[in-house]
């Protein structure tokens, strides 16, 4: 048919022929009855176009016409029936067979799909989680060039302190910019006030917000805040200006335009004797930051507002300093140079303790990962995701091979009718890919359905749009197809290798060591994950139950901010104690278990060289220790009978004595700062050690001085907590009516320090349940396959008089052995990994070996039940029925 000479010459009458591919395309879908005339007409038109408009135009018109002729819905069934027999037919047949098999054995199909869907859905969620974690702070367009100055070592006059502070001295950034012109810009972000939460007031309405910081105007240059209103150039220039996040603005102003409005606030300055009442003008509103930022600013105060800046000097590490470097600058060469700034500008007479410090530059994009335990958790979750997919695939393979016996007849017939092996392989591969694509679809539905509850349960902030990312979508599709190929290839090659005659007789190939390896891998993963989960929960419950050294039950915590306010505690305390439901109440400027205790250098007269060392410094009142039931081991508590306690006495904890290596205890004298400090404090009592922070960190040396009132009021309630709370509320409303009462329970506060651990524990629990489910589904499939393969053997044994129990054991034995074999590496790995994880905790539970044993027993039991079920099924048949065909 298409034998005319090919030529691109367009001045010759007879030689302009349409491109071959176009004709092929036409043949592919054009009804057979019409192909000739259409091809002919188009060839004629092509020549006409080529003669009049040139080859290129002709080609494009030709292609356009060919494509336009493709009208699948117009052509109707009439044309379809003329479709040339082709590969499409074959695949259509495969699909039909797949669907028929699904309908005929809905349970098996559901199990297959379930395995894959759950595996894919959880992997998707993990991918979303990783995407969330790894893309922290990417909202800022210059993120790649932003670095935070970290302080890794402070050299004191007599001592070196290794630490990991994220902050620098307040004045540091300006010196860096001045001395190193290659630094494009810097911004300071800091709190100049001690309020944990800031209360804003406008027009009688008050709101409370935690994420309030002061920042330089350059914050808008370094970071990419999306200013919805206000002027970037002026918003933070000059004192008493404030820029709000959109959500904060709407909380305070509703729908009204906040620009130019005044909001007032009381801020307790870091330094003593500073002004307390502030009035800010709103100069801008920015779009809310996404949840994955390490700096979730809700309100930014202009840095010029802080009038105490000039007094901070080098010793006050209260400021986060971010540098914007030009592309191509190596932060690692810049960071060591920063130490020179101290040598140039630090006046030793103004700074008594410190000589200089060593800094590092941490890329903005690495901050979150660094602060949440490094890449370890990222690797762990990526590993879990891969494992889950692997297990799902293995289970899928096992289920498909298990169903092979049902397909054997089909395969035999196909073979007899002349199917080539390649076609059979194609069949199973396409079936498998079809399944995995279907599973992907279902998995997406699952993710959509369960994202919200999962976010709530695990305290995550994943959103669906994360999946809407071309790279992610394509790689997902590729991975799914790869899974389809991988999962399908074993059954494909295995099933297609059957000998037609033996297959139709019902004989199946035996052995298959590969499958045993796969199952052993599954067992290993299950045992590993179960053991890890068990140990994590062990540690979590250890932390819950551990005696922290203070009473955390039935304790209500209130806080007040601002120096002037604190005097009102006395009245409130007095009022509270009138109720029989309140046992006692005391104040402190810190909260045990919350890790918010300041630290500073202290020297003890009793040590040989009187070198200052860092210790935590807390302020308490007379009743704080009794309220939290923290015993005084030696000496006495502060007492109103000794007026000197207010200025000359100090309590220390046991860790302090150990750290300073004090031989005596009560009666020793210590000084804040170095030995030059003229005002010595006398240790009047030793406080029993309590955990100042979470169990991640050790108990630190701490001193306590007396002040009648400070920030936090802790109230110990009697048994009837409700009545106590009601009384607290009533007293508060009477005495401090203009402020809303905010309270937390101390035990909740303490627990919140373990939020991240708790979430990881829950995640692990979820993963272990999933792996357990998926892998035992696979085992279920495999066991059924094995039992069917040995049904004749079972029948013979029964005829010969074997006990049921013996047969049960016989069929389960192999699998049980696999469990034991898999347990060894799994336990070794779990022990290693959990050992590493436990290093994060200063206080940790011991390796729980009975747990290892029970995990093994549990797995063995489940395996026995799964395989035993199929063994029993095999024994249900009448041996005579089974054996008569032989």
């Amino acid at each position: 048919m298409k034998n005319s000479p090919i030529s691109t010459d367009n001045n010759n009458n007879n030689s302009s022929t349409p491109p071959k591919w176009g004709e092929r395309l036409l043949e592919w879908y054009c009804p057979q009855g019409a192909i000739e005339e259409v091809q002919g007409d188009l060839a004629e038109l092509y020549k006409y176009w080529a003669d009049n408009y040139g080859i290129r135009e002709a080609n494009s018109r030709y292609l356009y016409s060919v494509l336009r002729l493709m009208r699948p819905f117009n052509s109707g069934a009439k044309i379809n029936s003329f479709l040339k027999a082709s590969h499409i037919d074959m695949f259509k047949n495969f699909l039909t067979i797949t669907l028929r098999n699904m309908v005929r054995q809905p349970l098996h199909a559901l199990l297959n799909l379930f395995c894959l869907t759950i595996g894919i859905a959880s992997t998707l969620l993990i991918v979303m989680y990783l995407d969330f974690e790894l893309n922290y702070d990417r909202i800022h367009t210059k993120a790649e060039r932003i670095y935070r100055i970290e302080t890794v070592r402070v050299n004191l006059k007599q001592k070196v302190l290794d630490l990991d502070w994220h902050s620098t001295p307040n004045n540091f950034g300006a010196f860096v910019k001045q001395d190193y012109p290659q630094v494009e810009n810097y911004v300071r972000i800091f709190k100049f006030f001690t309020n944990e939460q800031v209360q804003f007031e406008h027009d009688g309405k008050t709101i409370v917000e935690k994420e309030v910081y002061a920042a330089d105007p350059s914050v808008f240059d370094v970071f990419s805040f999306d200013l919805l209103s206000g002027n970037v150039k002026q918003a933070l220039h000059g004192p008493n200006k404030i820029v709000l996040s959109q959500s904060l603005a709407s909380r305070l102003f509703g729908k009204a335009n906040p620009i130019g409005k005044l909001i007032t606030s009381k801020l307790a300055h870091n330094l003593p004797d500073m002004k307390e009442n502030y009035s800010f003008m709103v100069t801008g509103v920015y779009r809310d930051l996404p949840n994955n930022t390490h700096l979730p600013l809700e309100a930014i105060i202009s840095s010029a507002t802080d009038v105490g800046q000039k007094d901070y000097y080098f010793g006050t590490y209260n400021t986060f300093t971010y540098l914007l470097l030009p592309a191509g600058i190596n932060p690692e060469t810049l960071a060591p140079k920063l130490t020179k700034i101290y040598d140039r500008y630090l006046d030793p007479s103004r700074e008594p303790v410190m000589t200089n410090a060593i800094h590092e530059l941490l890329p903005l994009t690495a901050i979150h990962v660094e602060e949440t335990g490094g890449l370890t958790y990222i690797y762990i979750f990526a590993g879990i995701g891969t494992l889950l997919l692997l297990i799902a695939t293995i289970s899928y393979v096992n289920l498909v091979t298990a169903q092979a016996s049902k397909r054997a007849l089909e395969i035999g017939i196909r073979k007899v009718l002349g199917s080539r092996r390649r076609q059979l392989i194609m069949q199973f591969l396409s079936e498998s890919i079809f399944f995995s694509l279907l599973a992907l679809f279902l998995a997406l539905l699952l993710v959509v359905a369960f994202l919200h509850p999962l976010n709530n349960l695990l305290d995550l902030h994943l959103w669906l749009a994360q999946l809407w990312h071309p790279g992610l979508l394509i790689s997902m599709l590729l991975i799914i197809i790869a899974i389809g190929l991988l999962g399908g290839s074993y059954p494909a090659f295995f099933l297609s290798s059957f000998e037609p005659i033996s297959v139709m007789k019902g004989k199946l190939a035996k052995g298959a060591p590969l499958r045993r390896v796969l199952v052993a891998m599954e067992f290993a993963v299950v045992i590993f994950v179960l053991t890890c989960t068990g140990m994590i929960y062990d540690q979590l419950s250890y932390m819950r139950k551990k005696d922290l050294g203070f009473d955390k039950e039935q304790v209500i915590k209130l806080s007040l901010e601002g120096e002037n306010e604190l005097q009102r505690w006395d009245a409130l305390k007095e009022r509270l104690l009138q109720s029989p439901h309140i046992v006692s109440a005391g104040t402190a400027d810190f909260l045990p278990g919350a890790d918010n205790i300041g630290e500073g250098p202290i020297s003890a007269d009793g040590t040989p060289d009187r070198t200052p060392q860092f210790a935590r410094r807390g302020v308490v009142d007379y009743d704080f220790f009794p309220t939290l039931n923290i015993p005084i081991l030696k000496g006495r508590n502060f007492s109103k009978d000794h007026p000197a306690d207010l200025s000359k006495s100090v309590l220390v904890n046991e860790a302090f004595l150990k750290k300073f290596n004090l031989k005596g205890s009560v009666g020793e004298r210590i000084r804040y700062g170095d030995k030059g400090n003229p005002s010595a404090l006398e240790i009047i009592g030793i406080v029993s050690d309590f955990h100042q922070s979470t169990l991640h960190s050790p108990i630190e040396a701490q001193v306590f001085i007396l002040k009648p009132s400070s920030l936090n009021l802790v109230v110990k309630a009697s048994k009837d907590l409700d009545a106590a709370l009601a009384h607290v509320e009533k007293s508060w409303q009477e005495l401090i009516p203009e402020r809303a009462l905010e309270y937390t329970f101390l035990d909740e506060q303490v627990q919140s320090g373990y939020k991240a651990d708790l979430i990881r524990g829950r995640l692990f629990l979820a993963f272990s349940l999933l792996t357990l489910l998926i892998s035992f589904l696979g085992l279920f499939g495999l066991a059924s396959y094995v039992a069917k393969g040995r049904i004749k053997e079972v029948s013979v044994r029964r005829v010969l008089g074997a006990e049921k129990a013996n047969i049960l054991l016989l069929l389960s034995k192999d699998f049980l052995l696999l469990v034991v074999l898999a347990a060894l590496p799994a336990f070794a790995l779990a022990r290693y990994m959990i050992g590493k994880w436990l290093q994060n905790f200063a206080f940790r539970t011991d390796m729980n070996y009975p747990l290892f044993g029970s995990v093994l027993l549990f797995t063995l039991l489940l395996t026995f039940l799964t395989t035993g079920y199929h063994a029993l099924q095999a024994m249900k048949h009448n041996p005579a029925q089974i054996l008569k065909s032989e």
């Binding site: 034998n3 005319s4 007879n14 060839a43 004629e44 038109l45 016409s65 336009r68 117009n74």
Partner: protein, 111 residues
């Protein structure tokens, strides 16, 4: 007999076939329409229209003999059926009747 609906483009195709008389086939129809109506016509639309018109019974078709042109492929020639002719004249009649009813004033102003 049930009246079969005739689309505007189908009508043009049918008219063109009538104009061409003998020797109307896909390409000649396409080019004739382009020439007479000054509009670009897509071959595939013509092809589809021909198929539909034939299904509706307005056309008959006949495969011609093979020639050396077009790579030796035959043409499918089409011709109007009686039904096709009457469908066209029906439309014409309806239109003239409607034209006659338009008031003269409007006709003159051309709106």
């Amino acid at each position: 007999m049930k009246r079969v609906y005739l689309g505007e483009f189908e009508e043009v195709v049918l008219l063109t076939i009538a104009v061409l008389g003998e020797g109307a086939y896909g390409v000649s129809i396409t080019q004739e329409i382009e020439k007479r109506t000054n509009r670009t016509v897509d071959f595939s639309s013509v092809h589809t229209a021909l198929k539909r018109l034939e299904e509706k019974g307005f056309l008959t078709s006949l495969m011609g003999g093979a020639t050396k042109e077009r790579g030796g492929r035959r043409k499918r020639f089409v011709a109007l059926t009686r039904q096709g002719y009457s469908a066209l004249s029906d439309i014409q009649e309806v239109r003239s009747r409607l034209w006659a009813l338009i008031p003269n004033a409007i006709k003159l102003q051309g709106i």
